[in-house]
Amino acid sequence: MALKPAQKALGPIRRSFAPWLDPAAVPLIRFENVTKRFGDFTAVDDVSINIHQKEFFALLGPSGCGKTTLMRMLAGFEAPTSGRITLAGKDLAGVPPYRRPVNMMFQSYALFPHMTVAQNIGFGLRQESYAKSEIEARVTEMLRLVKLEGFGSRKPHQLSGGQRQRVALARSLAKKPKVLLLDEPLGALDKKLREETQFELMDLQQDLGLTFLIVTHDQEEAMTVADRIAVMNHGKLVQVATPGDIYEQPNCRYVADFIGDINILEAKVASVQGGAARLAVQDPTAEISVAVSEAAPASGADVAFAVRPEKMRIALEPPPEGAANVLKGEVWDIAYFGDWTKFLVKLDGSEKIVRVSRANMARTEAAPISWDDKVHVWFAPDAGVLLTG
């Protein structure tokens, strides 16, 4: 699956791939106000999403947020209580799963234990009227694609977890589905293999030109593979955006908090002037200045200022002259990760702890920051985002 460098000239394609910004583009999959209730429980609550051709789309959220139900409705295993799902303009209501041009890779892989690897991969093809030689050729091609040549006659239980995952992937790709659904596809793999497979999945998706819809609770996985991410919570869609936007421009506290590490300072807007605002932070009492967009909240509004640890600076000595938003504190805890270090700083005059991370660019340091050190923490006005929701 790993492509040769010569083949991998996808930079410009990927960089300009944003059909969701084009109002004329027709989405491949449309969820229109889809709601699913199981008894009293609302699993999916009025969700509308458009997914475009060749997009790698991720549904991200904690377990029980409705992301899997949403995917199962597209596969045909559940019917929406209300709303509509269309694929290539065709309403999918009433179309049974075995007639839908989508294939799914199951979280448990769901390989047929009584069939060999080759029979598993060829299962979907055998359901259609393909010639035997055609099926064999396709199975061989799929085995090569997932680098399992020579494993065709094995049974699933004779394979390792990673190999089973590849068989499941090959089986779901064998019929060249319009959309490939991936339900937590890498959950059972260890970290190294998972990272490797994430990149392979991306290359594969680019290579085959298919539309992938992945369900995951792992935000790193979603950020790595997806063109766009839909963050869900309690059955509701919270934000749909590119990984960069989700991380840098979260639209509410939930997304900011769910994705990555973040410091949230509760504040009141003191004044707004042009593109800048002064915020009165409540705990500890301090005033900070932040950059705001045109749709800034009015003075006196309750807001939260969210700033990522890596966008804050930390030092023993005071920051250079003119630095905005300087807070003082004491190092509470240190977590050393090798490539970077995270400092937990207890702010003076408060119980509030902020997280500041710093890349370890040099191997040694003359005066390293240590436990209980008095430190300065500061950030630029545009380092964080103002959240109202």
């Binding site: 989508v102 448990s108 769901a110 234990p113 779901s172």
Partner: protein
């Protein structure tokens, strides 16, 4: 019935690791292991092999009007001579009789036929039952299971007698059918082979339902979803996924029905007519009416040999299955 098709992948590793887990108690562990393995062997020896050899010995003896009704009898009072006399007194005469008299061959063949047909009938009835039970809501499954086992609480004899009351020309079935007007003459089911089939299928149904249920209940439903996702309609998924994965249950159920049905005595005796030949009934007649212990023992030994063949084939298949997994 072991789960042939979905073994725990971790199991062989766990076994392989066990010996080197703690070198200190390897010596003691070996004895413990031997003792543990000995238990089932002693059990088989005492409760299966010993009675079998007694029956085998009687089958090689001659009939006499005495107590016991056969000879030679091992007389250890005469020392070694007694043993030699005893050994010389054994012969295969009774087996010869079994092959020469058509009654016995016909009984064996008829038993095999009746057992085969009733096994297939039982399978046809039990499969949908077990399937429905395995797909029923989890909360009512124990109740359904109980309903299958419940008839065991009444003696088989009484239940078979009850069928006489149902199948009689004046029985419940005929009364009902006459009342509805479907028939105008009572059906003569009693004392025919049909009655024997009804009796066997009824009596052995739980033995088929239980192994089928246990293999169907284990079936992972995501496999059926995966099959549907790959374009297989439900009826095809049934043949492609459900049936192959329930085969261990089918095989186990068929053996549990076929083997006792072959030697069945009570049901053909009570429900069947005089023309229904079954080896169990013939054996009974030889033993209790003719008091010919040696011939009836020979019948029993031959029946065992007849039944050992399919069991050996089955074991062979299963061993290959397991060997292929290694």
């Amino acid at each position: 019935m072991t789960d042939v098709l979905t073994p725990d992948p971790e199991a062989p590793r766990a076994i392989a690791q066990a010996p080197d887990a703690s070198p200190a108690d390897v010596g003691g562990g070996r004895w413990k292991r031997a003792a543990l393995i000995a238990v089932p062997y002693v059990w088989l020896l005492v409760l299966f092999l010993a009675p079998f050899f007694i029956v085998l010995k009687i089958s090689l003896s001659d009939t006499v009007i005495a107590q016991p009704p056969y000879q030679p009898v091992l007389d250890l009072a005469n020392g070694w001579r007694g043993v030699v006399d005893w050994w010389n007194g054994l012969d295969f005469e009774n087996y010869q009789i079994l092959f020469e008299d058509e009654l016995y061959v016909a009984s064996y063949l008829s038993s095999l036929k009746i057992a085969t047909i009733s096994t297939l009938l039982t399978l046809a009835i039990a499969y949908p039952m077990a399937y429905a039970m395995a797909r029923a809501p989890k909360s009512i499954r124990p109740t359904l299971l109980m309903a299958v086992i419940l008839p065991f609480w009444t003696s088989l004899l009484i239940r078979v007698y009850a069928w006489i009351g149902i199948l009689n020309p004046e029985g419940l079935l005929n009364q009902f059918l006459l009342w509805t007007g479907i028939i105008h003459e009572p059906l003569y089911i009693m004392n025919t082979e049909t009655a024997v089939y009804i009796g066997i299928v009824y009596s052995y149904l739980p033995f088929m339902v239980l192994p089928l249920y246990s293999s169907l209940e284990k079936l992972d439903e995501t496999l059926l979803e995966a099959a549907a996702d790959l374009g297989s309609p439900p009826w095809r998924s049934f043949w492609q996924i459900t049936v192959p994965l329930s085969l261990p249950g089918v095989v186990a159920g068929c053996f549990l029905v076929f083997i006792p049905a072959c030697g069945e005595f009570v049901i053909p005796d009570l429900l069947g007519g005089s023309e229904t030949l079954m080896i169990g009934k013939t054996l009974y007649n030889e033993f209790f009416l003719n008091r010919d212990w040696p011939v009836s023992s020979a019948i029993a030994v031959l029946l065992l040999l007849v039944l050992v063949v399919p069991i050996a084939i089955y074991n062979n298949i299963q061993a290959k299955e397991l060997g292929g997994k290694a």
